[in-house]
Symmetry: C2
Subunit: 271 residues, 2 copies
């Protein structure tokens, strides 16, 4: 069975890149010459994809951007284009709801848009994630320890048995919850010591590591901390908005290449 | 300032109802005679609204249903219709993401769709909720203790200081997080003793209580447990799918009326 994880592994080999380019595309931030185009968001995404595809193991559209701009059709076109190129697509949606509702969100991600993987929020527990997991060839990244400042609020609470909440999530995700073997974890790049702890708990589970670039994560520290399993290192705004002029695609390519190389310098045995 | 909570309070008075009708509208479950209509989802919603509005203090569309069916335009039309009738609209979205992304989700809910309130997930912490809270006249319902079986997985973990995670969320929501006074809590109807605990922690904070009807919550127990602050009791499938025949609107009205009366029988001093 070809799965999201097997496709990404193959592509990481082929491109020599662990970089995932995040498509957080905001019409207001597009180069002026694109602003007036009817499908400006898709046109921008296509140019970014064409310029960076050989530097990236996958792409990650953030659905909130398309939702706020009523640009569902342009998200659809973007994902269809990536699938045409046979590049794995991770839809960043961070949904979390009761099972009957989660089934609709899973349909949205996997059937309406044809994404190959999705991010989900574990706060509502195991049964809220089952509808995604049942798509066994898809990847399901569970939020474990996130890269934002408030990530610590709940995730770092210490439990009565000494574990922290994110350690509980890592343990369940690597154990009881992973009946189909298609779970990955979202582990922010801004807390390398916690990332190392999650690696120790979860074995060789795939990590999606956002927070490099605009959010300031340290690549060397995170590559050391995360080694021992698949790493997908995500950068969004630092790549796609590297320039706001007509040279935006070249600038994005340069930023993606630099990030890919920076990652590979510290790759060691991590994969 | 007219807020979501002041509008709902006024309407609870006027209608004598704490019931919120959930619009979890699935095209596949519509009466056969509507199935072939072009805007079947909106047509169904409009009929349900017309039949149940005087039995309800607000309506709650669940965005997952519209997303899975590519029915954004029909969600928009539904909310516009409710606004025309000056009925408060709570968009059930349960989003949770880093601040810059959350700002887009807040735009989606409040500006694109014009909802008056939204549900959010606290797992990513305070800064992930700020973009919603900054719309100070809107209501922001934070997931505290949810009604699904897996709700206990993370929410009921016991912390080193003896509190459970949902008690921590209730405390923060009623304290530090509530700088604009526009927070409410989602407290499932299926755990009355926990609902009482959340009421004790959070004072008179508004509760959104889903889980009555299809999910089987006990109305008497929850009305006793929740008294002391605004209660919005949500029922979705048990109302809107009360009949799958041509009499669906009448059946929905009958179900809404019965639920409203059942709530009022046990209302006591609760509001």
């Amino acid at each position: 069975m070809t799965t999201f994880f097997s496709s990404v592994a193959k592509r990481q080999q082929a491109t020599g890149s662990l970089l995932c380019v995040g498509l957080d595309t905001d019409q207001k931030r597009l180069p002026a010459h694109l602003q007036t185009q009817p499908d400006a968001i898709f046109a921008f995404n296509k140019a970014i994809i064409d310029a960076t595809a050989d530097q990236a193991c996958c792409f990650k559209p953030q659905i909130a951007y398309y939702a706020s701009q009523a640009a569902e059709d342009q998200l659809q076109a973007t994902i269809a284009y990536l699938r045409e190129l046979q590049i794995p697509v991770l839809l960043d949606a961070k949904r979390g709801d009761i099972g009957s509702t989660a089934a609709h969100y899973a349909r949205e991600a996997f059937e309406r848009y044809g994404a190959d993987a999705v991010t989900v929020n574990p706060y509502m527990g195991y049964d809220s994630m089952v509808p995604y997991l049942e798509y066994q060839n898809k990847g399901v990244f569970i939020l474990c320890r996130t890269s934002n400042p408030g990530g610590a609020d709940i995730q770092n609470l210490t439990l009565s048995d000494g574990r922290r909440v994110f350690e509980y999530v890592a343990e369940e995700a690597a154990g009881r919850w992973n009946q189909f073997g298609n779970i990955g974890l979202v582990t922010g790049a801004t807390q390398p010591e916690e990332l190392a702890r999650i690696r120790a708990i979860s074995g060789d589970m795939p990590f999606l590591v956002p927070g490099v670039g605009a959010q300031g994560g340290d690549v060397e520290a995170l590559m050391t901390a995360g080694q021992g399993g698949m790493m997908i290192i995500s950068s969004s705004r630092a790549v796609i908005y590297a320039s706001s002029d007509e040279d935006f695609a070249d600038a994005a390519r340069a930023a993606a290449t630099a990030t890919r190389q920076e990652i590979n310098r510290h790759r060691n045995s991590a994969r």
